[in-house]
Symmetry: C2
Subunit: 411 residues, 2 copies
C-alpha cells in the first residue's frame, strides 16, 4: 500500500523525530549514567499524599466516571489555579477562572494554541536555543521559527529589533524562567522592553513557565502576563508536571476569553474532554498540603543536585574544556565545549565509550548547524553520589574524544 501517497503534507513533511528521545533510547540500551533526562527526580513525587488524594476522590461522589461537562477542565481546579497565581502576583486583574484552561500537560497547550493561531507560512519568533518539542509543534503547523539569541538575562534585544524591522511576526514563544535548555531567566526589565516591542509590532507572546516554582534563590522574576496588565497579548502556560508528577498530565493555559473559547472548541474536536479523576486528585492534593513547604523541599533538593553536579563538573570535566553556567532554578546546566564541532557525534561517543549520556545543545537551536559546541546537562535526577561519577565519565569522554579529533586532523 502506498502510504506516503495517502498521508497529507503534514504527515509526509512536517512530522519530526525527537532527537532527544533517540539519544535517551540509546542511553538506556547502553545502560548509561544519565545527565540527559529532562524530567523530575522520582523520589520527589509526593506519592503518599497523592495516593490519599486519589483514594478520597475515587470514593467520593464527584462525577469522575462520566464524560466531563466542563470541557475547559474541572471548575474547582481552575479556581484554585487562578487564586494561587493571583496570590503570587503572576496574573493581572482581568484573569478570572474562566481564563484558565486545563491541558494534558503544557504540550497540549502548545499544540492547541498553534492550532488556533498558526497557518502554514506564519513566521514566529523563538528563543535560540529553545525547547525542541515546542519548535516541532510550531513547524508541524507549517510555521517558520526565527531564532533570537538568548543571553543570560533574556533575549538579545538588538537582534530582536532587527528581525522585527524586517518582517511581520505572529507571536514570540518564550520560556522566561529557568529556561530549557539554558537555565537562563529573562529579567523583568527585558520583559517590559519586549512587551513594548510586542505592542509596537503587534505580536502575541506565548509564555511557557513550567520551572518557575523550582527557584533556588527566593522568588524568581515576574511574568510577562502580569507585566502586560490590561494589554491581553500574553498567553501563559503553566504545568504541574515539574512540581507534582508529569504522569498526571496536567497543565494549564491562561488566556483571554476569545482564546479560551476557541480552545474549548478545539478540545471538543480533539479529545472531547480530559479525565476528571486526575484533575480532582490534583486539586485535593494542592488544596490539602502545605504547598510552599512542598515547593521548598523540591527547590532545596534540586539546588543540592545543581551544586553537586556543577562542582563535580568543575573538578573533572571543565579541565577538559567544558564551560558551564549554573542556573538559579529548574533542571538544567548549559555549557559549551569550544573545541567540539559536532556535539551530537560527541553525545553518542560518550554513551558508547564512557556510558554517560548528555544532550547535545545543537538540537535546541531553530536553525541547523548552530550551537554545535553546546551541551545540556540535567541535574534534576542526578543525586550527589552520582554527580561525581557522571562528571568523571564526562571528563574522560571529553579527553578521549579530543584525542580522537586530534588523530583525525592529519587526514
Amino acid at each position: 500500500m502506498d502510504w506516503p501517497g495517502r498521508f497529507n503534507d503534514c504527515s509526509n513533511n512536517r512530522l519530526e523525530d525527537s532527537e532527544i528521545a533517540a539519544i535517551m533510547r540509546v542511553a538506556a540500551a547502553d545502560n548509561a549514567l544519565s545527565l540527559a533526562a529532562g524530567e523530575p527526580f522520582g523520589a520527589l513525587y509526593p506519592v503518599g499524599p497523592l495516593q490519599e488524594s486519589f483514594s478520597k476522590v475515587l470514593s467520593s461522589d464527584l462525577p469522575i466516571w462520566g464524560y466531563s461537562n466542563t470541557r475547559a477542565g474541572v471548575t474547582g481546579l481552575r479556581r484554585w489555579i487562578r487564586e494561587w497565581m493571583r496570590r503570587d502576583g503572576l496574573v493581572p486583574e482581568w484573569v478570572a477562572s474562566e481564563n484558565i484552561f486545563i491541558t494534558n500537560g503544557s504540550q497540549e497547550g502548545l499544540s492547541l494554541l498553534s492550532e488556533c493561531f498558526l497557518d502554514p507560512g506564519a513566521t514566529i519568533l523563538v528563543e535560540s536555543p529553545s525547547y525542541p518539542e515546542a519548535l516541532g509543534v510550531f513547524r508541524k503547523f507549517g510555521a517558520k521559527c526565527l531564532g533570537v539569541s538568548l543571553l543570560p538575562d533574556g533575549p538579545d534585544l538588538e537582534a530582536m529589533e532587527t528581525m522585527l524591522a524586517g518582517q511581520r511576526i505572529k507571536l514570540f514563544y518564550t520560556i522566561p524562567t529557568f529556561q530549557n535548555p539554558t537555565g537562563y531567566t529573562t529579567s523583568d526589565e527585558k520583559k517590559r522592553r519586549i512587551l513594548d516591542l510586542a505592542k509596537k509590532h503587534d505580536f502575541l507572546i506565548v509564555e511557557d513557565d513550567p520551572y518557575r516554582n523550582l527557584s533556588f534563590e527566593g522568588s524568581p522574576e515576574g511574568t510577562y502576563l502580569h507585566a502586560a496588565g490590561d494589554d491581553k497579548r500574553v498567553i501563559y502556560l503553566g504545568s504541574f508536571s515539574k512540581i507534582i508528577a508529569p504522569g498526571l498530565r496536567c497543565g494549564w493555559v491562561v488566556a483571554p476569553g476569545e482564546v479560551t473559547e476557541k480552545l474549548i472548541k478545539l478540545r471538543v474536536m480533539g479529545t472531547l474532554c480530559l479525565p476528571e479523576l486526575l484533575q480532582n486528585a490534583i486539586l485535593d492534593f494542592v488544596a490539602g498540603i502545605d504547598l510552599p513547604r512542598h515547593l521548598k523541599t523540591l527547590s532545596d533538593t534540586y539546588r543540592r543536585h545543581r551544586d553537586a553536579l556543577s562542582s563535580s563538573l568543575r573538578e573533572h570535566a571543565c579541565p577538559e574544556g567544558l564551560e558551564i553556567t549554573a542556573p538559579g532554578g529548574g533542571f538544567f546546566l548549559w555549557g559549551r565545549v569550544p573545541w567540539i564541532r559536532n556535539m551530537t557525534e560527541f553525545a553518542y561517543f560518550a554513551i558508547r565509550n564512557e556510558k554517560v549520556a548528555i544532550i547535545p545543545g545543537n538540537i535546541f537551536f531553530p536553525e541547523s548547524g548552530q550551537g554545535v559546541d553546546t551541551i545540556r546537562l540535567s541535574f534534576s535526577k542526578v543525586i550527589p553520589a552520582m554527580a561525581e561519577e557522571g562528571a568523571k565519565r564526562l571528563g574522560e569522554a571529553l579527553r578521549k574524544f579530543r584525542i580522537l579529533q586530534q588523530e583525525r586532523k592529519p587526514e
Copy 2:
C-alpha cells in the same frame, strides 16, 4: 484586540459549535426529562471493581507518576486488546500489539487520523446521517464530507457507486455496528461489497466501532477490519467509554505500522503522552473480571431500556405521528415524524413546553436541510420507570406542536 485578525483560517472558519451540547444545556437548565443523552447509564459503571483496580495500581510500583515512555500507550493494555479482539475474531492475522495505539477516547483517534490524512479540500465519504463530532473534526481539517444514505442494513450501495464514479475520495468513515444516531448495523455482505469498492476506487475505510459489545441479540456482524484480511486499508477505532466508563478517556486505534508510527509522532507533538495510571487501571479491571458476564449485564440492561422506551413510545407518541425503528444494540432509537418540517424547532418546543429533551435528527446529516423530520431518542440512561413518562411528554409535545403548526398555516 483584534482576535479574528489573529486567529488562523481554521479557528475563524472551521470550528463548529456542538448543537447537541447546546440542546443539552438548555435541557439541563429547564430540568427536562432527557431522551437525548448519548452516554452510558451511570449505574452500570463498575465503580467498586474500578476502585479496587485503581487502589492496586496506585500502590504498585508501576511507572505511573513519570512521563510515559510508551507513547503509543501502555504495552500490557495494547497486548490485552489485541488478544481480546483476536479471540472475538475482529482482527486479521497481521494485527500485532504494535498495531494498537491507545487514545484519549475515540475522539482523539478520529482527530489524529484526520491530522494524518486530511488536507483542506480532501473529499471523504460519510454515512448520512452520522456522528456530528466526527463530521466536525473532518471539517476542521478542511475536508468536504459527502453523505451516502444509510439504510437499515448499511450504506446505499447504488448511491455510493454513483458518488465514487464522479470523484476521488480519500476515505470512508463508517460506524457499522449499532450506529449513532440510527442504531443500524451494516450487514457483513454489504461490508464485503464496500471493501470491493474501496479496492476498486482505492480509498481507506475508517471503522468506528464503540457500540459493538452492547448487542441485544447475540454476536453482532463482523468488522470491516477482519473482512479486509491482508488488504490493510481499514483503520479501526475501539473504545472503553461505553463498556467501562467514558471518564477514563480510553479508546484505541488499530492500524498498519506505517500509520501507528505517524500517530506516535502526532501524539508526541500533541500531548507528549497519556496518563499511564488510567490505562493500567483499565488493564487490571478487564484482566481481572469476568468480562463476558460484565458485557452481558450491560446488554441486558440496555435491552430492557430499549424495550421499555420503544413500547412506551408506541403507546404514547406513535399515535401522534412518530415512527421508530428499534436497534439490535447500542444506545439509540431512530425515528421520523413525517409532518414535522423543522425538528430543531420542535426540540426546543418540547423542552420548554413539556420538559422532555430529544435530539433533532437533522444535526446528524452532513448536508444542511436534510433529515428535518428525523429524531434521535436515547434509551441508554432512561430507566423503564422514566420511559413511560418520557414517552407521554413527547406525545403531548407532538400533539401541541401539531396544533401550533396548524394554527400557523393560514398565515
